[in-house]
């Protein structure tokens, strides 16, 4: 990635016997912060797999590991016909039903788009993918619980190798640090 600096007008002023140019990014702290932001932004693109392989039966699919998409590591079956009570659990389904037509619509949508086996978790009947009679739609998650997976994603400790919530936090931190540094420096020089 080329950095173009030529041709851009630089605003300079003499300050405490030193020429300070805003266009030059002389301050190492600012440069470091911006580099960090750029690097992390690039990493966020690079660390994500180029394509999340959808469930299917093509040659490419059946030889390539899938990485979690928005639906998690479980796959959504568009033909699933589980009832809201099965998917959400009886209590949650009843609560949504009580909200009227909108609630019923939401429950139906959730039931239609739930990953395979989602209802079993809710109803406490999860038998595990490798257990006898396990649902074919559920593949083993490698033994980590949902809570552990969420914590892993949030802290960046996920085994997927992605940075989870940590990445935006670091970027935000770097931006705040840069702005604070610039602000402090500006106050000193003015």
């Amino acid at each position: 990635m080329a950095h173009a600096t030529g041709g851009r007008p630089q605003r300079c002023q003499l300050s405490q016997g030193r020429l300070v140019c805003w266009g030059e990014m002389r301050a190492p702290g600012v440069r470091f912060s911006l580099m960090l932001v750029a690097t992390l932004a690039a990493m966020s693109t690079a660390s994500a797999p180029a394509a999340t392989v959808p469930p299917g039966n093509s040659a490419a699919d059946q030889y390539t590991e899938s990485y979690p998409g928005p639906g998690g590591s479980q796959q959504v079956d568009p033909n699933a016909s589980g009832s809201p009570a099965q998917v959400l659990g009886p209590e949650n389904a009843a609560r949504l039903r009580r909200l009227g037509a909108k609630g019923r619509e939401a429950a139906a949508l959730l039931a239609a788009t739930a990953p395979d086996g989602g209802g079993r978790d809710a109803s406490g009947l999860n038998q595990g993918a490798s257990g006898k009679g396990g649902d074919p739609g559920i593949e083993d998650s490698g033994g980590s619980s949902s809570l552990a997976e969420i914590a892993g994603q949030a802290t960046g400790a996920s085994s997927s190798g992605e940075m989870g919530l940590l990445l935006p936090l670091v970027i935000a931190g770097a931006v705040v640090a840069s702005v604070a540094y610039l602000w402090r420096r500006r106050r000193r020089t003015v």
Binding site: G56, A59, Y63, Y67, P136, G143, S160
Partner: protein
């Protein structure tokens, strides 16, 4: 000589010389190669998916340092489309069979000095007991074991070495990747895995048929795909456990009962394609890639101990009859050539370390893309596909496959492993590259399987820089960089 020339060379070069080459030279004087050939365990290679019957293709396969070549024997294409009312399906000479292309292929393979290996795959529609539903229409669905017995008997008789002057085929595999819906259906019935049980009946029938013709034939089972994928594919460890009536992910043990008398095969086969480099370990607990073959070995050992496997060997061998990555070029999503060459050597080492004795590369030449996306086609050949077979061009990875060599920098020196191109014994020279070119650092001895390994006590490469190579007779292996390449996301087919 160095002093004399110093005045003519730049100080930078002198610094480099002092920093890298001189310590290496001193190190080389103190070279200590660990006794090579401690293990005579072989690594015999092959090429799979070789459908060409042109003699050039077989010559090139043999020239890749291989001894084996495999091809699917399509039951559906050899047998008639409609089942004749009056025929003998166990008779290899029955006029309803069409063996012409297989006869030619087997004959030419043997002429080129290769051991042919046939994978009985597919089935005519009349031998299938169901039809795969969309989108799998036309895929193999529950072949009838009794009908497979008849066909396998005919095939084994035809290539027994005693039929119409045709050569003998010793290696027979029953079906391909039965854990993938691409090749075997149904995978599940009423929500429960079905393919392992169906496959058990098939492989037992196949074993009986092939062994009835010649007990010295080798029957290979499974050839499992690497990944579990919802309702489309059962993860290989799960499939293997169900097939062998075993339980327990961490501590495999037999289930109750006698598993219907056990599972009959001599060799278990795995296709451990990875979604990364050679050491990549898949996320799925029951998935198997090149980087975690040990757990499959552990399961096989436990199954052997429990008497589940009824084969020729006390310890059932695990083979890899398919493995590869697509290359870039031509596949833009493939592995770049320098990394592919490195990974090819590393894959062979990884397999050998995991106890694999037979390793097949898929395949000899890139497949034609014919307008399909590159991710859906295979560009993992050892040769770039040209307009004709004769115009194919070798890939750099071909040389790594023929003469695999890996080296790593360690505290004690440079650790190395390799296999001679012809799998033959002899003297192997280990060389390091410095400013003056290649310099001998050690001499190793390849064992009778052509395997050589050891450690060169040297300071060269301590900073993870530099190149090492092996020389055997007049041939040099692809130089191996001491700079490690980290694992990254890489679909096997780009």
């Amino acid at each position: 000589m160095v002093e004399a020339s110093r005045s003519r060379i730049s100080p930078c070069v002198v610094r480099l010389w002092r920093r890298f080459a001189l310590p290496a030279l001193v190190g080389a004087l103190l070279v200590l190669v660990a006794p090579a050939g401690a293990a005579a365990r072989p690594l015999i290679t092959g090429v799979s998916g070789m459908s060409e019957d042109d003699p050039i293709a077989f010559q090139r396969t043999a020239a890749a340092g291989t001894q084996l070549v495999d091809k699917p024997l399509g039951w559906g294409s050899v047998a008639p489309a409609e089942e004749p009312s009056d025929w003998d399906p166990t008779d290899p000479g029955d006029p309803n069979y069409n063996w012409a292309s297989t006869d030619l292929w087997v004959t030419r393979a043997v002429q080129a000095g290769l051991d042919p290996f046939l994978i009985v795959d597919g089935a005519p529609s009349w031998a299938q007991r169901c039809q795969a539903p969309a989108p799998l229409t036309g895929r193999l669905c529950d072949p009838d074991p009794a009908k497979l017995v008849a066909f396998a008997t005919a095939a084994a008789r035809r290539y027994s070495g005693y039929f119409q002057g045709l050569p003998r085929v010793r290696f027979w595999q029953g079906m391909n990747e039965p854990n993938l819906s691409l090749f075997f259906n149904p995978q599940f019935k009423d929500g429960r895995p079905a393919s392992p049980t169906l496959y058990r009946a098939l492989i037992n029938a196949f074993y009986a048929a092939v062994k009835s013709v010649d007990p010295s034939n080798t029957v290979i089972a499974a050839g499992l795909g690497p990944i579990g994928r919802g309702r489309w594919a059962i993860a290989p460890m799960r499939f293997a456990r169900l097939l062998l009536c075993m339980n327990g992910r961490r501590d495999p043990h037999p289930t109750r009962g006698n598993c219907g008398g056990g599972v009959h095969f001599d060799v278990f086969d795995m296709h451990p394609y990875t979604t990364g480099g050679p050491t990549h370990v898949p996320r799925g607990g029951d998935d198997v890639a090149l980087g975690n073959l040990a757990k499959l070995q552990e399961l096989l050992t436990a199954a052997d101990r429990a008497g589940r496997i009824k084969g020729r060997y006390r310890r059932t061998p695990l083979w890899i009859t398919e493995f590869s990555w697509d290359s870039k070029p031509p596949d833009p999503g493939g592995v770049s050539m320098p990394i592919l060459a490195r990974w090819t050597s590393e894959a062979l080492y990884q397999a050998w370390s995991a106890g694999i004795s037979r390793f097949f590369w898929f395949s000899l030449r890139d497949f034609p893309s014919e307008g399909a996306p590159f991710s859906e086609t295979v560009q993992s050949g050892l040769y770039f596909r040209g307009p004709t077979l004769a115009e194919d061009k070798p890939k750099r990875s071909l040389y790594a496959f023929r003469f695999p060599f890996v080296a790593t920098s360690q505290k004690t020196g440079i650790s190395f492993w390799g296999r001679t191109p012809t799998s033959s014994p002899g003297r192997v020279i280990i060389q390091v590259r410095d400013l003056n070119g290649w310099r001998t650092a050690a001499v190793a001895r390849a064992n009778r399987a052509g395997i050589f390994q050891g450690v060169v006590k040297t300071t060269y490469g301590r900073n993870k820089r530099g190149y090492v190579r092996a020389r055997y007779r007049r041939e040099a292996a692809i130089p191996f960089s001491l700079k490690p390449v980290k694992d990254f996301y890489q679909p096997p087919f780009g």
